[in-house]
Amino acid sequence: SQTLPLVINTWGFTDATREAWDAVYQRNLSSIDSVVLGCSVCEREQCDGTVGYGGSPDENGETTLDAMIMDGKTMNMGAVAALRNVKDVIALAKHVLLYTKHSMLVGSQATEFAEMQGFKTEPLSTNTSKDMWRSWRENNCQPNYWVNVKPNPEASCGPYKPITENDIDVKSHSLKEYSVIGYGKYNHD
């Protein structure tokens, strides 16, 4: 096709696009390697704070990473999720694809796999992510993702206990929770 190769990615992460184009067009690398190289740029540049280390701390202030790579020729794939202490997450996903028969590894066990594969382990927190977490705590942990718990998650940091199932109002359990989280340019999967 006259229109190939093609690189397209979500958001305005143009450095990642250029790197993938350079890989697939100038260096004639595979589409798999080009995706890995392109997305790795964002991991290093911490694109919008939504990719890579030092962003999106969880309730404990920890940053964890998720990534996936899929090969449309073989329908093989590799993914890692809730990965701790490893920065090069899509490169690790490629190792799941290449060196295992599995599709996804998660959590601390994925970190152990990374170490065995020769990846460096290091904390993923930064001063920025720590400040973000502190601000959230000082704002009574708002917003958060808890529902049907006590004390009231809209006013308290917990610890939370579940209310009884009989007390759950199923009708009100749909849209409201999603509207307060503030998904947008700087908070997304």
Binding site: C39, M70, W133
Partner: protein, 137 residues
């Protein structure tokens, strides 16, 4: 989150995602990004798609898989993306998300919901440089 599709000269398609997820998530939470068919999906016979947004909702609808299947049925990339997101907004009208879609021939499109505009980045022979394209949602 970044979601990316690359098609090489030989027509081999790959897709991928990388993210640090949602801010202040409950520890252990994973969104759509590493889930095949949700965060992204690729099939050399048809094309690929990559989604972004509220991963707790996206992962329930497998929008990337759906977009690829819609192209298999004859829809354009743009149509496939719009229909894939409409399946979500039917149930979650305040959902925020977007999807980029490309067919095996290099045609592409995007769709979004819940934000004013969605930017995405494209590089191909026709453009000969990286293009930052913004669509209204």
């Amino acid at each position: 989150t970044i979601g990316m599709i690359v098609i090489d000269r030989a027509g081999n398609i790959a897709s991928g995602t990388s993210t640090n997820g949602a801010r202040h998530k409950i520890p252990g939470r994973v969104g759509d990004s590493p889930i095949p068919g949700a965060g992204s999906y690729a099939d050399n016979e048809v094309g690929a798609a990559a989604a972004t947004g509220d991963g707790d909702v996206l992962m329930r609808f497998l929008p990337s898989f759906l977009a690829v299947e819609l192209m298999r049925q004859g829809h354009t990339p743009k149509e496939a993306g719009k229909i894939a997101l409409s399946r979500i907004t039917k149930h979650y009208s305040e959902f925020m998300g977007a999807i980029v879609v490309a067919d095996k021939n290099g045609n592409y499109g995007a769709a979004c919901h819940g934000i004013d505009e969605f930017p995405f980045s494209v590089y191909n022979l026709a453009s000969n440089h990286v293009q930052l394209i913004k669509i209204g949602c």
